[in-house]
Structure formats: structure tokens, C-alpha cells
């Protein structure tokens, strides 16, 4: 296996620095030449021309969390799957593809059963009437 030098990360650092530079630079540049006349009305949040009512930082519907939950589980799954997928070809060439196929299958199918569970229980349905908790934020339907 070939060794590698950490210099390959140079572009990453440079690009991140550039991103900060571009964004910061353009904002600074604009700050020098653009007008700045704030007033109270200008600084209120937009709410269809009305006075904003309360804060927007209210608690949201729990469906968002369930989506994020399924996401993170599959995210982790993919993190585990990537290295195994990367060696699949090599294993296949030396004749061990069958065992790897089996392990990948069982791994994926176990997770899919979780997805099916959530599906059957209705966690994947966005519009479903949960008439349980009174919620402040029900606008997102």
C-alpha cells in the first residue's frame, strides 16, 4: 500500500481559509461603501407586514426529530458500510465475495427492518393527525 503525505490536506485548509476570506472580504468591502441607516421598523422580522407576535423559537413538531433520528441511524450505517463496500471488489477477486455478500446483506436487512417498523408505525408519514399534545407550532403542516 502506498503511503501518503499529509500535504494532501493543504487544499482543504486553503479552501476553507478562502471561503472565510471571500465571505468576510465581501462583507467588509460592502461595509465600507454601503449605506447604513437602521431604524426600528427595518429591524423587525418580516411577518406579512404585521407586527411580529412572540418569538419564533417555539418548540416544533416531533416529526422533525423522528426524521433526523432515522437519518442519523442510516448515516452511521453508511459510515460502517463504506469501508466494507470499498473492499468488496478485492474480496470478490480472492473468492471471499460470498461471505462478504452475506454479511452486507444481513447488516442492511437488519437496518431495513427498522425502517419498515417506522414505516408501519407511521413515523414516515408527514401528514398524520396526532391529536395528542397541544402544540404551539402547528403551522408547518
Amino acid at each position: 500500500m502506498s503511503t501518503f503525505n499529509l500535504d494532501v490536506y493543504m487544499p482543504v485548509v486553503i479552501l476553507i481559509a478562502l471561503a472565510l476570506l471571500v465571505a468576510g472580504g465581501s462583507l467588509l468591502l460592502g461595509g465600507l461603501i454601503r449605506p447604513h441607516n437602521p431604524n426600528k421598523l427595518k429591524e423587525t422580522a418580516y411577518e406579512c407586514g404585521e407586527e411580529p407576535v412572540g418569538s419564533a423559537w417555539a418548540n416544533f413538531n416531533v416529526r422533525f426529530y423522528v426524521i433526523a433520528l432515522i437519518f442519523i441511524i442510516f448515516d452511521v450505517e453508511s459510515a460502517l458500510m463504506f469501508p466494507v463496500a470499498a473492499v468488496f471488489k478485492k474480496f470478490n477477486q480472492i473468492g471471499l465475495g460470498g461471505t462478504l455478500l452475506l454479511s452486507v446483506f444481513s447488516f442492511v436487512l437488519i437496518l431495513v427492518s427498522g425502517l419498515i417498523y417506522c414505516w408501519k408505525k407511521g413515523d414516515l408519514d408527514w401528514v398524520k393527525s396526532f391529536n395528542s399534545q397541544p402544540q404551539l407550532a402547528t403551522k408547518d403542516k
Binding site: N59, Y65, A79
Partner: protein
């Protein structure tokens, strides 16, 4: 500069920060943040040992599984927090002391 000492030092700092957050905060989500810091510290330790001790890949595997477990832990932990919030309208940790008395 890059040696076991500095890495252990960094993970030590992470760990202590994690402990501070865990004990000082009374917000359950903040406590979970502290736990994530601690888990990161341990995962970093494993990777550092791999590099500076024996170059055996097992340390990476350990770190990987720590990350996996941490993600699962965060998912379940936050789920519990949300359920708790639905029940108590609070995420103050001392409100969870209903076992007392």
C-alpha cells in the same frame, strides 16, 4: 510536536471539559453535549495509541465503534429528552428526580 503526549493532553482537555459540562449544566441537552465531548476524547485516545504505539488498526476500529455508539446514544438520549419535555414541559435535570421520595 505531534506525539502521544500532545494527543493525550488534548483528549485530557476534552475529557475535563466534558466532565465540567456534565456536572455544571442543569440542562439535559447540555449534559448530552458533555457526554459527546467525553466520547470524543476517548475515541481520540484510541486513534492516538494506534498511531504512536503499535500501528495496529484495532484502535481505529474501536474509535469507529465509539462514534457509532455515540451516535446511537445521542439519538436515544435526545429521544428521551423530548419525551421528558412532552411530559414535564421542562428539560431541567432536577425535574427528573421523581424517584426521590
Amino acid at each position: 510536536m505531534i506525539n502521544l503526549g500532545t494527543y493525550l493532553g488534548i483528549s485530557f482537555a476534552l475529557f475535563i471539559c466534558g466532565i465540567l459540562v456534565m456536572v455544571a449544566r442543569k440542562n439535559i441537552i447540555a449534559i448530552l453535549l458533555g457526554i459527546e465531548l467525553i466520547l470524543n476524547a476517548s475515541a481520540l485516545n484510541f486513534a492516538a495509541y494506534t498511531k504512536f504505539s503499535n500501528n495496529n488498526i484495532d484502535g481505529h476500529i474501536m474509535s469507529l465503534f465509539i462514534i457509532v455508539t455515540a451516535a446511537a446514544e445521542a439519538a436515544v438520549g435526545l429521544g428521551i429528552v423530548i419525551r421528558f419535555f412532552q411530559l414535564r414541559e421542562s428539560i431541567h435535570i432536577d425535574d427528573a428526580a421523581s424517584l426521590q421520595n
